[in-house]
């Protein structure tokens, strides 16, 4: 029974590692400037975690095989070095390893959160609400008009609560249901929730950020590849959460300019 158990642990450990080594289930290719750092950090962590996982499971399996059901005459032996050696191993090998990982990992985090958006970044406001995203571009004046929550009305398609009659800055604002952005330009996403908590997740962009009702946050990113990508809500927001999606369209600058003109005409 003990030997069977030891073999089972070892087989499970190796079988668990196979899909990772063979890259069977992986995130799609990165399309952002900062994403490479996250991917590298993920790979490094995978190597170190993978080694720890396999070593621990294989040694556990081996010891169970070797030291179970021994004859009564045999004496108890102790691990060479005793607890002192193992504590040292835990502190020096594992402790320093994970701390170093954490320290290196802050580079990727800093690239997103501690670096301000570039001066020519395109500002886009995204509003999350049960169960849709809407996007707002500031128009030719470069300014967003103020929000009036009491004016929000889905029936009249005033999703943001804009007062285009009285607010001059709102008059040229462009509201859309999908997020179109020019390729290779920094995008400054201003995040606003109108009701409950939501989140903005685009796997290819390596960006995920919660919306906090009552607190407007922002993230910025530079997409590097033209294409159409899914935007998902990843913060449980109610019964339609699973269906709260939008699309990110990364376009050439020319296509984006044309698209924005078309959208302006539709307002």
């Amino acid at each position: 029974m003990a030997k069977l158990f030891a073999v089972t642990i070892i087989v499970i450990a190796i079988a668990s590692a196979i899909p990772i080594v063979m890259h069977i289930w992986e995130p799609p290719a990165d399309i952002s400037v900062h994403g490479k750092m996250i991917d590298e950090q993920m790979s490094e962590t995978m190597v170190e975690a993978g080694i720890c996982f396999l070593v621990a499971q294989l040694v556990l399996g081996f010891f169970i095989w070797r030291y179970s059901n021994r004859p009564k005459t045999e004496k108890i032996k102790s691990f060479p070095g005793g607890a002192r050696g193992l504590v040292a191993a835990a502190v020096v090998v594992v402790g320093l390893e994970v701390m170093a990982l954490g320290a290196f990992g802050t580079r990727a985090w800093a690239a997103i959160y501690f670096t301000p958006p570039s001066p020519n970044a395109l500002p886009v406001q995204v509003q999350a609400g049960q169960f849709a995203f809407y996007f707002r571009y500031p128009g030719p004046d470069g300014k967003f008009g103020p929000l009036h929550p009491e004016l929000i009305n889905e029936g009249t398609e005033n999703f943001f609560g804009l007062d285009t009659t009285h607010d001059a800055d709102s008059k040229d604002d462009i509201v859309t249901a999908e997020l179109a952005v020019p390729v290779n330009r920094d995008i400054h996403l201003l995040m606003h929730s109108k009701d409950v908590g939501h989140s903005f997740f685009v796997r290819e962009l390596r960006i995920q950020q919660d919306f906090v009702p009552g607190l407007d946050l922002s993230v910025h990113f530079t997409p590097t590849k033209i294409g159409r990508y899914e935007i998902l809500c990843t913060q449980l927001c109610g019964l339609g959460h699973y269906n709260m999606k939008a699309y990110l369209e990364v376009m050439s600058q020319d296509d984006f300019d044309k698209w924005l003109e078309q959208q302006a005409a539709l307002q």
């Binding site: 556990l60 032996k77 002192r84 990982l101 985090w109 997103i112 049960q130 995920q208 607190l215």
Partner: protein
């Protein structure tokens, strides 16, 4: 009392009537069994809920026969609606975390064995102890009642993030009465745990028998003691948080609701609250809660493993200090649940390092377990199999924490199945393995009858392999970007991952079925199992010095005196390779090798 004479005073007499004996009992052993029974009812409800969710995820258009009787609107014709999926998911998490993982390894085993293992005839405050169980029972009834109110239970998940959880019925089905019942239930549950923790701490500190110094306490007692200290502070934060949430619902306050929110085109009459405040309060409890579930299981596993290995761990002290370190660090790491929540991004870095640091005491514990196996004389039985399985699960689940402790990687893995796989392995499955190890180990002591080993091994094998088949693929799904808390994945990039979901569901159905074998074994052995000897596993701690089942006052009116460290195995004594803690026999003690 430690250091007092052997003379004892019965602080309550043996009960005679059925009600005082089995229902409103003051006996810590009966209360322990009541907690265990409550967890048993809860775990099978939680299991059925997970089956329903898994079937729906794999075959979203399949009707589940009979489900319409639970809710006509939530599952018309047995077909789960999106909102009812979330409602069942919320109840699965709530029932499993609070009423199983907190209740069984801590309150169940702890109530039964802590007083016996410290050499006490009961806890110092038996009435408070009785109250702690019945308060927990009421909390459970209130939680389950949410199934039967109009619109059903809440759909905001077991974390009940505000303002979804605070806005009331306007935010969605179950967010009115169902959510209030949830908050009331958890608030009451906190009271029960606070009362229980108080008793555990005072029993450990004040009720130890003569000779039972702190370092002579078995690891189980240390684990329950540390857990009580964690519980005393963690639940003391969650309870007021629940009260504030209830006030937001019924008193028009705005603790968790800011101004200007518009739901269904209606401007909400709230202003001034903070949504992140709920997350801070919840996770200040929520992360220590992980250790409230796992530390008692670590204690039980150590206890079972030592007895099975016929040797003490390489260091008794180091394990205890590591558990204390885990308890202490558990308060400094809660922010890793909130890396992407919108709190200051510098805080994420600040929370990341203590989270990574907690790897050190956890690794020390694992290495001491594995290192102690070296050169041991391991006996294989169902209890030791589950204890060894625990180590394997804890390692697998713990190592994925390397990823989630880093804010930059969390960007890709947060809110995906990777997280679900991580916490199920390290907290849920590992803690359940601890519960199973403890059950097979102590069943004979509690009931006077042994559990069936053949059925136990069938249960173990299916559960061990099955748990890996369920939860390892969760990690792969998460790495591919499969987000959690979705009731269907068919129309998007997650569609191609459906075969993995089907595999997981089949594994979950089989693994769940093995839990019915456990239930059968439990009930059958209770009445028809082989009679249990006093010390079937040749253990050394005080529970093995008394009959199975123990008498009402544990030690037959004579409080023991302790002469030895708790785990004197691998020696030459008159009893064999071990000596009981209360044996006056002089031996060459096994000392820590640290």
């Amino acid at each position: 009392m430690h250091g007092s004479s052997q003379q004892i005073v019965h602080h309550h007499a043996p009960p005679t009537g059925f009600i005082r004996k089995y229902v409103f009992s003051l006996d810590h052993k009966v209360i322990g069994e009541q907690y265990y029974a409550l967890a048993l009812v809860a775990v099978y409800i939680g299991l059925v809920l997970s089956w329903i969710m898994r079937i729906h995820l794999a075959w979203p258009n399949a009707a589940i026969p009979g489900l319409q009787f639970l809710s006509k609107t939530g599952a018309p014709g047995g077909l789960l609606t999106p909102e009812y999926y979330l409602q069942l998911m919320t109840m699965h998490g709530t029932i499993m975390v609070f009423f199983v993982l907190t209740t069984a390894p801590f309150a169940g085993f702890g109530n039964y064995f802590l007083p016996i293992q410290v050499g006490a005839e009961d806890m110092p405050f038996p009435h408070i102890n009785m109250m702690s169980f019945w308060v927990t029972f009421v909390a459970f009834c209130v939680a389950v009642a949410a199934f039967f109110v109009p619109q059903g239970p809440p759909l905001s998940g077991w974390t009940a993030y505000a303002p979804l959880s605070a806005l009331g019925a306007v935010a969605g089905p179950g967010q009115g009465t169902g959510q209030v019942l949830w908050a009331v239930s958890i608030g009451i549950f906190c009271i029960g745990q606070l009362l229980g923790s108080l008793n555990f701490i005072s029993t450990t500190l004040d009720m130890r028998c003569k000779g039972m110094s702190l370092m002579r306490l078995p690891i189980t007692v240390w684990a329950w003691f540390i857990t009580s200290c964690i519980g005393l502070t963690a639940f003391a934060v969650l309870m007021p948080a629940c009260i504030l949430l209830i006030l937001d619902h019924i008193a028009g306050t705005s603790f968790f609701i800011p101004s200007g929110l518009v739901v269904n085109d209606q401007l909400q009459p709230h202003a001034g609250g903070s949504t992140l405040l709920w997350q801070h309060l919840f996770w200040f409890f929520g992360h220590p809660e992980v250790y409230i579930a796992i530390v008692p299981a670590m204690g039980v596993v150590s206890h079972v493993l030592i007895t099975s290995m016929r040797r003490p761990l390489l260091s008794h002290r180091v394990i205890i200090y590591s558990m204390i370190a885990i308890g202490f660090l558990s308060y400094m790491v809660y922010g890793h649940h909130m890396f992407l929540s919108g709190m200051n991004p510098f805080s994420s870095i600040a929370f990341s390092f203590p989270t990574l640091a907690i790897t050190v005491p956890a690794t020390i514990i694992v290495l001491i377990w594995i290192g102690s196996l070296y050169g041991s004389k391991l006996r294989i039985n169902t209890a030791s199999l589950f204890a060894l399985g625990f180590i394997s699960m804890f390692v697998s689940g713990g190592i994925s924490g390397f990823f989630l402790a880093q804010p930059s990687i969390d960007i890709m893995l947060h809110a995906t199945y990777f997280v679900v796989g991580h916490f199920h392995l390290v907290m849920a499955v590992a803690a359940l393995f601890g519960i199973f190890a403890g059950t097979y180990f102590w069943f004979g002591k509690v009931t006077g009858r042994m559990m069936n080993e053949t059925l136990g091994k069938i249960h173990f094998w299916v559960t061990f392999v099955g748990a890996y088949c369920i939860f390892m693929p969760f990690h792969y799904l998460g790495m591919a970007g499969n987000v959690r808390r979705y009731q269907a994945f068919v129309d998007d990039f997650m569609g191609p991952l459906m075969p993995v979901h089907k595999f997981i569901t089949i594994a979950a159905l089989i693994t769940g079925a093995a839990q019915l074998v456990f239930l059968y074994n439990l009930i059958h052995s209770r009445f028809w199992g082989k009679p249990a000897p006093q010390n079937p596993w040749e253990g050394t701690s005080l529970e093995w010095t008394i009959p199975s089942p123990p008498p009402f006052d544990n030690f037959g009116g004579k409080i023991p005196v302790v002469y030895h460290d708790p785990y004197q195995y691998g020696i030459e004594a008159s009893t064999g390779d071990f000596v009981m803690q209360d044996s006056p026999e002089s031996i060459n003690s096994v000392r820590d090798e640290s």
